[in-house]
C-alpha cells in the first residue's frame, strides 16, 4: 500500500483514541457496587463491552437504553427510565452511572432531569444513587470521558465533612495490576487513603466458586463522600485539563490541598511520590521499598547501553505517554515520537521541557492517528513502539516491535496484569523494553556484521 504524505488531513485513519463513554465506563467500573447504563442506541454499549471484555478478560456488563427510531424522534426518556428499572432488577446496584452518547446529546436528552424524576418516582430510598455524565462521543476522547465521569462522581457524592487524616489518591486509567501496586506502596507507607477509581479487583477479579454479576471491590461510596474532608489529594493527572480535574474540584470547593504528580514511573516520579507521602504522613520509607528502589537503579545501570540504542514511538493516553516518556528520558532511550489521540490535554506543554536535554528533539503529536504516527517512523528511524495493541500495524507493516502497554490489549493475554508503576513496576517494564531491543539486535547482528564487513560478502551470496 502506498505511504501517506504527512500533513493535516480531515480523515482519521486508524484511530489512536476511543470515545468519551468508553472512558467513563472504566471509571464507573472502579466504584463499589455500581452499574452503568448508556443512553443511546444498543450498539454503543455492546461495542464498548466487547472492547473491554477482550482487554480485561472479564465479563463486562453495561446496560443500554436501546434507543430506536421512535425514541430518536419522540425522545428517549421512557427508554432510559425503563432501562434504569430493569437494570436495577438484574443487578441491584448501589449507584448507577448514566452516560449520554452522540445520539442522546444531539436529540437533546436531559439525562440529569430524567434521573431526578426516576428517583422521585421510585422513592429516593428504594432507588440506587444516580450520577449522570455528559459523554457525547464527538465531544472528546475516552481519556476525557474517564475524568468527566470521575469529576461528576466526586461532584455528586462529596459533601462537607469533618476533616480527617486520610489522603485522596486519584488515578488516571491504569491497569488493575498498577492500581494494586500503588495500593501496596500506600500500605507500605502506612497511608490511610481513598483510591479513586479502584479497578484492581473489579476489572481483574479472582476466580471464585460463586459468581457476582457486579464483582466485589471498587471504591466504597462512603469513602468517596469523605474525600471532601481529606488531608490532601494526590492526583496523577499532570496532563489533565483543569475543568475535568476532580482534584481541582475538591480543592476549590472543600479546600483539600492538591498535589498533582506524574504517574510513578521511573526513578524521579517514584521518588516524588514517596517524598510527598513521607511529608504528609511523617512515616519513613520502609527498607523493603528502598531495596526495590536500589534494584531499579541497578537495572538502569545494567541495561543503559542497550537502551541507548532505542528510538521509540510512544502512543496512548496523555498521562501514560508522559509517564513512559519520563522513563525513556531517564534511561537515555530517545522518545523520538510521542503521540496521543487526545486533543485537549496539556501533555504537549509538559513533554517539551521533559525532552529538552535529549540528543534530538522529539516529535510530539496530539490529536493523532496511527496513519500519522507511522508516516514518521521511517524518517525518525524508530526501532521500538510502546503502546496498546492498536499499534500492531506498526509491527506488521514497518517491522517495528511493539511493547504492549495501555488499553486496549486485544491480541495478547493479560492486558489487565501489565505492571509498570512503582520501582518494581518500572524495573519490569524497563526490562521488557531492553529485552525487546536486545531481541531485535541479537536476531540481526550476525547477518548485519557479515554483510557489512566480510570481504566480498555480497558476492558470496551467503
Amino acid at each position: 500500500m502506498s505511504k501517506k504524505k504527512p500533513g493535516v488531513r480531515n480523515v482519521n485513519e486508524n484511530p489512536c483514541n476511543m470515545c468519551m463513554p468508553m472512558g467513563a465506563i472504566i471509571a464507573f467500573k472502579g466504584i463499589e457496587n455500581t452499574m452503568v447504563i448508556i443512553h443511546g442506541s444498543q450498539g454503543c454499549a455492546t461495542y464498548m463491552r466487547r472492547h473491554m471484555a477482550e482487554h480485561f478478560n472479564e465479563p463486562i456488563d453495561v446496560a443500554s437504553s436501546s434507543i430506536t427510531e421512535k425514541g430518536t424522534i419522540y425522545g428517549g426518556e421512557a427508554n432510559l427510565k425503563q432501562g434504569l428499572e430493569n437494570l436495577t432488577r438484574l443487578y441491584n446496584p448501589q449507584l448507577v452511572g448514566i452516560l449520554s452518547t452522540c445520539l442522546a446529546e444531539t436529540i437533546g436528552e436531559d439525562i440529569e432531569r430524567t434521573a431526578a424524576e426516576f428517583r422521585r418516582a421510585q422513592g429516593e430510598s428504594d432507588s440506587p444513587m444516580l450520577v449522570a455524565v455528559p459523554t457525547p462521543g464527538f465531544g472528546d476522547s475516552h481519556t476525557e470521558g474517564y475524568f468527566q465521569a470521575l469529576r461528576s462522581i466526586v461532584q455528586a457524592l462529596c459533601k462537607k465533612t469533618e476533616s480527617h487524616r486520610g489522603i485522596n489518591v486519584i488515578v488516571p486509567h491504569i491497569s488493575p495490576a498498577d492500581v494494586r501496586e500503588l495500593k501496596r506502596i500506600l500500605e507500605m507507607m502506612q497511608v490511610s487513603y481513598t483510591l479513586l477509581p479502584d479497578i484492581s479487583d473489579t476489572l481483574d477479579s479472582p476466580y471464585a466458586k460463586t459468581y457476582n454479576n457486579i464483582p466485589a471491590g471498587g471504591t466504597p461510596l462512603k469513602d468517596i463522600e469523605a474525600m471532601a474532608g481529606a488531608q490532601a489529594t494526590i492526583q496523577f493527572g499532570e496532563t489533565l485539563r483543569l475543568d475535568l480535574s476532580p482534584g481541582v474540584y475538591l480543592h476549590e470547593n472543600f479546600s483539600v490541598p492538591l498535589f498533582n504528580l506524574p504517574l510513578p514511573m521511573g526513578i524521579v516520579a517514584c521518588d516524588q511520590l514517596l517524598k510527598l507521602l513521607q511529608n504528609l504522613t511523617g512515616n519513613p520509607v520502609p527498607d523493603l521499598l528502598r531495596k526495590e528502589r536500589g534494584r531499579l537503579l541497578d537495572a538502569m545501570v545494567d541495561s543503559h547501553k542497550y537502551n541507548r540504542e532505542g528510538r521509540a514511538a510512544v502512543f496512548g493516553e496523555p498521562e501514560t505517554v508522559y509517564g513512559v516518556g519520563r522513563v525513556l528520558v531517564e534511561n537515555g532511550l530517545l522518545p523520538a515520537i510521542l503521540a496521543t489521540g487526545s486533543r485537549s490535554s496539556q501533555v504537549a506543554a509538559l513533554l517539551g521541557p521533559l525532552t529538552g536535554g535529549c540528543d534530538e528533539e522529539p516529535l510530539i503529536l496530539v490529536d493523532s492517528d496511527f496513519s500519522q504516527i507511522s508516516s514518521y517512523c521511517a524518517a525518525k528511524e524508530i526501532n521500538l513502539a510502546i503502546g496498546s495493541s492498536d499499534g500492531r500495524l506498526l509491527s506488521e507493516h514497518e517491522g517495528i516491535p511493539l511493547v504492549r502497554l495501555g488499553f486496549p490489549i486485544h491480541d495478547r493475554i493479560g492486558g489487565q496484569r501489565i505492571l509498570s508503576l512503582g520501582y518494581t513496576g518500572t524495573t519490569m517494564f524497563l526490562d521488557q523494553i531492553t529485552n525487546t531491543l536486545l531481541n531485535s539486535k541479537l536476531s540481526r547482528y550476525r547477518q548485519d556484521l557479515f554483510q557489512r564487513f566480510y570481504p566480498c560478502a555480497s558476492n558470496e551470496g551467503r
Binding site: M1, V11, C19, I37, P59, S66, T101, F138, S205
Partner: protein
C-alpha cells in the same frame, strides 16, 4: 412452537425464553431489545459493517464520531488473498462543530483525500447514529464525489438506532445489490455459483472454493469473504446462490432470485452431516454425473482423513452438555447437529437475531428440557448455563469471560478464532477445540480448597 415459559428476571423478557417439552406460545423474536436488559446485540451499523467490511479492496469510510470506527477497526479478522485496505479504519471523526454545522463538507473532503491517496476501485460510506439525526445527505455527497472521481462510492444507510443488527444486514445487502447491478446485459455462465454469507474469517471461503473446484463448480465470488470490487461484479452471471449465513444474506439471495432469476439454496458447511448434505445438494442442482462422481470421491477421501480424528475426540466428549449463544439462527442449528456428531447434547440455545422459522427448526432438533432464548442477557445466560449443567458455551468475545468465570469451557464461533471451522477439516478442528477446552486439566483445580 410449543414451549413453556420459565421465570424471567425482567417481565418483558418472559416471551423470549422457552423450554422444550412444555406447552407455550411460540418464542418472541425479531423484536427490539428491552431497555436495561443488557442485550448482547449491537446496532444497525454493526450489522452492515460486519457484512461489508471483508470486501478487501474497498475503502470503508465511517461517517461519524471516532468511536464507531475505533471499535470496528479490523474487527472481523477476515483473510484476504489480495488487498488489505479493508483492514484500515477510516473515519470522518465528526466533532462538535460538525454536528452543529453539518458534516457533509468534511465528508466530501475526506473522500477526496482518500481517493487521491489510495485510488480504491470503490468506496463505501457508512452512516452512523449522528448522521441520521443531523440529516447529512450521504446520497448526494457520494453521488457528487463519484462523478468527480469516476469510481463507485456507495452510501450505507446504517444509522445505529434505525433498527437492530438484522436491519444492518439488510442495509448491507442493499448496497451489494446496488453494486453488482450490471451496466450491460449479463450472460449466464454454466457451472458457476456465488457463495453467500461466509466472511472468510479463517480461510473458510477458500476451503469451500477448493471443494467446489474439485467437483467442477466454479465459485464466482463469496459474499463477502475475500471478495473484491471486480469479483463482486461477476455475481449476476452465476446459475446458483448457496447461502451459509441466512441471517445476513437470506435477503440478498431472495432479491437476486427476483432480479436475476438466480435460484438459491440454504446450505451449511458446519459439521460433517451438514457439509456432506450440502455438497450433495449442490451437485444435484447441477445434474452432472461427473460432478456427482467427484463429489462422492471427495466426501470419501475427506471422511477417511477426518472421521477418525472426530471419533477419537468423541470418545472423550460423549455425554457432555453444551450451551450455545450465537448471532444467527442458522449457526445455532448447525451447532446443535455438530454437537450431536460428538455425542453431546445442547441444553441451552439462544441467538441474537434468530427468525421464527429458525426457532421452529431449533425446537425440532433439541431434546426435552432444553432452554431456548432470544436476545438473552448475561444474567439469563448465567442462570440457564448453571441450571442446565452445561459443560461448555459457544459464543463470542463478550460471552467468553462469563463462561470462564462460571467454570465452563468455551468455543469462539465468531471473529476471534484463527482456525477454520467449516468443511471436513473445520469439523475436525471443531472437535479438537471442544476437546481441548472441555478436557483441559485446569477445570480440575477450580474445585480445590486451600485449608
Amino acid at each position: 412452537m410449543a414451549m413453556n415459559p420459565v421465570p424471567a428476571f425482567i417481565p418483558e423478557r418472559q416471551k423470549s425464553i422457552r423450554t422444550k417439552g412444555k406447552p407455550a406460545e411460540a418464542i418472541s423474536c425479531q423484536v427490539d431489545s428491552v431497555a436495561g436488559s443488557v442485550s448482547q446485540r449491537a446496532c444497525v451499523y454493526c450489522g452492515a459493517r460486519v457484512v461489508l467490511n471483508p470486501i478487501t479492496d474497498a475503502l470503508h469510510l465511517v461517517h461519524g464520531p471516532i468511536g464507531c470506527a475505533s471499535y470496528t477497526w479490523d474487527i472481523r479478522g477476515s483473510l484476504s488473498s489480495g488487498a488489505d485496505l479493508f483492514r484500515h479504519s477510516f473515519s470522518t471523526d465528526l466533532r462538535e462543530e460538525d454536528i452543529i454545522f453539518g458534516g457533509e463538507k468534511k465528508l466530501s473532503l475526506c473522500i477526496d483525500e482518500l481517493i487521491e491517496q489510495y485510488h480504491p476501485p470503490m468506496m463505501l460510506v457508512y452512516s452512523t447514529c449522528i448522521v441520521g439525526v443531523i440529516g447529512d445527505d450521504l446520497e448526494a455527497v457520494c453521488k457528487a464525489a463519484a462523478m468527480r472521481h469516476g469510481i463507485r462510492i456507495i452510501p450505507v444507510q446504517s444509522s445505529g438506532f434505525s433498527g437492530n443488527k438484522s436491519d444492518g444486514y439488510r442495509a448491507a445487502c442493499e448496497v451489494l445489490l446496488r453494486l453488482i447491478a450490471p451496466r450491460e446485459k449479463i450472460t449466464l455462465q454454466p457451472n458457476r455459483l456465488n457463495y453467500l454469507g461466509d466472511f472468510n474469517l479463517a480461510g473458510e471461503a477458500w476451503i469451500i472454493r477448493s471443494y467446489l473446484e474439485e467437483i467442477g463448480i466454479h465459485m464466482n465470488v463469496a459474499f463477502t469473504g475475500d471478495s473484491s470490487y471486480e469479483t463482486l461484479l461477476t455475481a449476476p452471471s452465476a446459475s446458483l446462490n448457496i447461502v451459509q449465513c441466512a441471517g445476513s444474506m437470506g435477503y440478498m439471495a431472495k432479491r437476486m432470485e427476483e432480479i436475476y432469476g438466480i435460484p438459491f439454496m440454504n446450505i451449511s458447511f458446519l459439521g460433517l452431516e451438514d457439509t456432506i448434505d450440502s455438497l450433495i445438494r449442490i451437485t444435484e442442482f447441477f445434474g452432472n454425473t461427473s460432478f456427482s462422481r467427484r463429489t462422492v470421491a471427495l466426501i470419501r477421501r475427506e471422511l477417511k482423513t477426518y472421521s477418525p480424528v472426530i471419533q477419537q475426540f468423541r470418545t472423550r466428549l460423549e455425554g457432555k452438555k453444551a450451551a450455545v449463544y450465537v448471532g444467527g439462527g442458522f449457526k445455532a442449528i448447525s451447532l446443535i447437529k455438530q454437537f450431536r456428531e460428538l455425542g453431546m447434547d445442547v441444553v441451552m440455545v439462544g441467538t441474537q437475531t434468530g427468525r421464527p422459522e429458525e426457532y421452529d427448526t431449533i425446537h425440532e432438533l433439541v431434546t426435552d428440557g432444553t432452554v431456548v432464548l432470544d436476545d438473552a442477557n448475561p444474567r439469563e445466560l448465567e442462570k440457564f448455563m448453571l441450571e442446565q449443567g452445561a459443560d461448555l458455551l459457544v459464543g463470542g468475545v463478550k460471552e467468553r469471560p462469563l463462561a470462564y468465570k462460571l467454570g465452563l469451557a468455551f468455543i469462539d464461533h465468531n471473529h476471534e478464532r484463527k482456525h477454520p471451522l467449516s468443511g471436513f477439516v473445520g469439523a475436525a478442528n471443531f472437535a479438537r477445540e471442544v476437546y481441548q477446552t472441555v478436557c483441559s486439566p485446569v477445570w480440575d483445580y477450580l474445585g480445590l480448597e486451600l485449608p
